[in-house]
Symmetry: C2
């Protein structure tokens, strides 16, 4: 007996179950970051590498925007570009992440060059951009659904980092404040789209696979960071070396 | 004062210097693999993940072949497809790697499915295939030049693995025997092409960057393996779990 497609509610439950198993809040690196167990160089490595992810999000969203068929859909998705690239120089998520990186002691030009990021970061982020560019619109939208899970991790991160790191200030973490409202708004839209359009078994399997893939993108970035800068701490040739490791 | 382009000999020396600093024979995972410091499950994880790399090499070579402009170049490059895909079922490098994987105790169908590989493996290998598909022919050819460095690592690997692992036989490692002659032949061709065609500063910088990128592709695969299966040994959700870790 072959099972038919799931109801929208069952599909949503299956999507949320992926987050409960695979979202990167479960990664040991995040526990250490939020728990105050990292030193300044390790936090710098996180900020530096994560900048590459932030900086490629608008490319990801623009490539999807270019394929969306209606003005309604494009207008809804366009708000993500405004959130990340801002409405004036120095505004938006990418600029706020640069401030975060500067706040923890990195040179802005070095961060923007991405010269010191880990290969694992680059390959994971590029894989995400490629998925959104090359797969169906449905899969591309589904891959954004990790935002369903992000408000929890952001709240943990901000409170944990402010409590534990003397070199982190509320201004440094200003990136995260608007994300607490932007991410749920974006996730609601994407979830509604997926609930409505993933109606066959094949489409439902594709959206579940896309969300697992995206969880892998986030998780493997932390694998690479943890390996290089925490345990065992083997920094690959050419990657950022914190002051205390020089 | 701006430096002009390097001579072919100086360019070759610069390429070889990249290998001396960044080739994955320097990675701690390889030292452990060759030194007999891994258990059977860790060797299985290596064979399983490396299969994905092997399986995508013909796709990489075919995408370059499709862009090469002359019959002479295509004929020379076509030998790589014959080496990897064979001339009859059960022959060629991909088939021999499956025998290696079976020889260390993995199920062939599981290996071929690539279901249990690390996300870090997939993203790194896909990044290599994308580079060869999307960048200039010169960069695509230069990215193959890690084969300049492979005979040494193969000799170390075969002798080390046979000496240290009771579950590894000469038949299991039959993959490597033809590589000892194929890799130098291929590397000589690619090196000759690069020496002849990378004549401007920009071209020379591009081929050096392509070789560094390829070293990153190999290195980051070992980072992911080492992190998941050796130190600290955090296997990501969904990845292969050896018998002794279940």
């Amino acid at each position: 007996m072959t099972a038919g497609p799931m109801s929208p509610d069952a599909l949503e439950a299956a999507l949320r179950a992926i987050g409960a198993e695979r979202y990167h809040n479960l990664h040991p690196f995040h526990r250490r970051l939020h728990g105050g167990d990292l030193n300044r160089g390790q936090v710098q490595a996180w900020a530096l590498n994560r900048y590459y992810y932030q900086s490629r999000i608008p490319a990801k969203d623009a490539s999807l925007l270019a394929r969306l068929p209606t003005a309604d859909l494009r207008r809804a998705w366009r708000s993500r570009l405004e959130d990340h690239d801002g409405t004036a120089p120095g505004t938006g998520g990418v600029a706020r992440w640069l401030k975060l990186a500067e706040g923890v002691g990195l040179e802005r030009a070095y961060v923007e060059s991405t010269a010191g990021i880990l290969a694992g970061t680059r390959f994971a982020v590029d894989a995400y951009v490629a998925l959104v560019r090359e797969r169906s619109i449905l899969e591309a939208i589904a891959s954004s659904l990790t935002e369903l899970f992000s408000p929890t991790i952001i709240a943990e991160r901000v409170s944990g980092m402010l409590a534990h790191y003397s070199f982190v200030t509320p201004e440094t973490l200003a990136y995260f404040t608007p994300r607490l409202t932007q991410a749920p708004r974006d996730a609601d839209f994407a979830l509604g789209y997926v609930r409505e359009h993933a109606v066959t078994v094949e489409q439902q399997e594709a959206v579940l696979a896309a969300l697992r893939f995206k969880c892998d993108v986030l998780w493997s970035q932390l694998d690479a960071l943890h390996f290089a800068y925490v345990e065992p701490g083997f920094i690959p040739p050419g990657a950022f070396v914190p002051d205390d490791r020089r």
